[in-house]
Amino acid sequence: MVNKGMPAASHQVWLSCKAQHGMFSSERAVEIDLDGKTISLFADESLIKEYLGNKYLLVTLIGDNGEPEHKTVLLPSECFETGWRWLSIPERMLKKAA
């Protein structure tokens, strides 16, 4: 069976975040600050990049969600605070993945 219209690898984007050591050496504890509210999750270290002193998490871009200047992204794992992998993110927090 073939799926149509799914996010491709090229639909991955970098999401601004904070990251520190997780519960394993190859894992990072990730924090995402959403207008004062912090959500957090664990992610493999390979999904985190540092650029100009800022850290970014690789996520899948899903698309518009009706909220102005926001996009829905799919996180690599569910976050503790919401229990979901879907997240509405201000566009300014996203950078296109290479």
């Binding site: 491709a8 970098w14 519960m23 698309g63």
Partner: protein, 202 residues
């Protein structure tokens, strides 16, 4: 539909999903069962502190940081295995890293991690409550382990610890963003990597 050992090998060779670090030759040999593939224990065991005077409130935020701060990582070796005591809970992860990508115009897969009957007879839980490896996952699989048996149980690196059951995902997990439909390569916004490259070229 659960993949057979033969179909798992075929999908691995086709690159439909990846299990990094998996050592195999034939689907009729270890680490395959007829409808699963066994994975090995990594070389770290994480022990959450048991005496933290905190009430967990998931609404407060920074839960990942809290857990990272209140746990101890232990590296295990052949000579120094971890002794899982009676009723002790630890986290561990698999030696292998798995990747179940969200791919366009192709079959997507997900998986479930399950214990092994040999360890179940020893009354060792390998996971509880969260066996699903969703489409889009990349990384090692975290195991929530507990010893319910009457004896201590030794955890060695690279011992076969769990089995992975791979399934086809029917339908689309998500629609593609409109602005990227039909686009083969990214363009437009600055990427961390490309900007970095440009800076180094100056």
């Amino acid at each position: 539909m659960v993949l057979s050992n033969v179909d798992i090998v075929k999908a691995l060779k086709d690159g439909a999903f990846k299990i990094e670090g998996l050592e195999y030759s034939e689907p009729s040999e270890k680490p395959f069962n007829t409808s699963a593939v066994d994975l090995r224990l990594g070389n770290e065991v994480t022990v959450p502190f048991s005496d933290v005077p905190v009430q967990l409130d998931l609404r407060k935020g920074n839960i990942a940081k809290l857990w990272a701060m209140h746990s101890k990582q232990i590296t295990i070796t052949e000579d120094q295995p971890f002794v899982l005591k009676q009723n002790q809970f630890v986290l561990a992860n698999t030696f292998e890293k798995v990747s179940f990508p969200l791919t366009p115009d192709a079959q997507c897969y997900s998986a479930r991690v399950e214990g092994k009957s040999s360890l179940a007879r020893c009354e060792v839980l390998i996971h509880f409550t969260a066996p699903t490896i969703h489409s889009g996952w990349y990384g090692p699989i975290t195991l929530e382990m507990m010893n319910l048996g009457p004896m201590e149980f030794l955890l060695f690196p690279k011992m076969y610890i769990c089995q992975l059951i791979v399934e086809e995902v029917s339908g689309c997990p998500a629609d593609a963003p409109n602005q990227f439909k039909g686009q083969k390569s990214p363009a437009g916004q600055v990427t961390p990597k490309s900007a970095e490259t440009r800076a180094s070229e100056k």
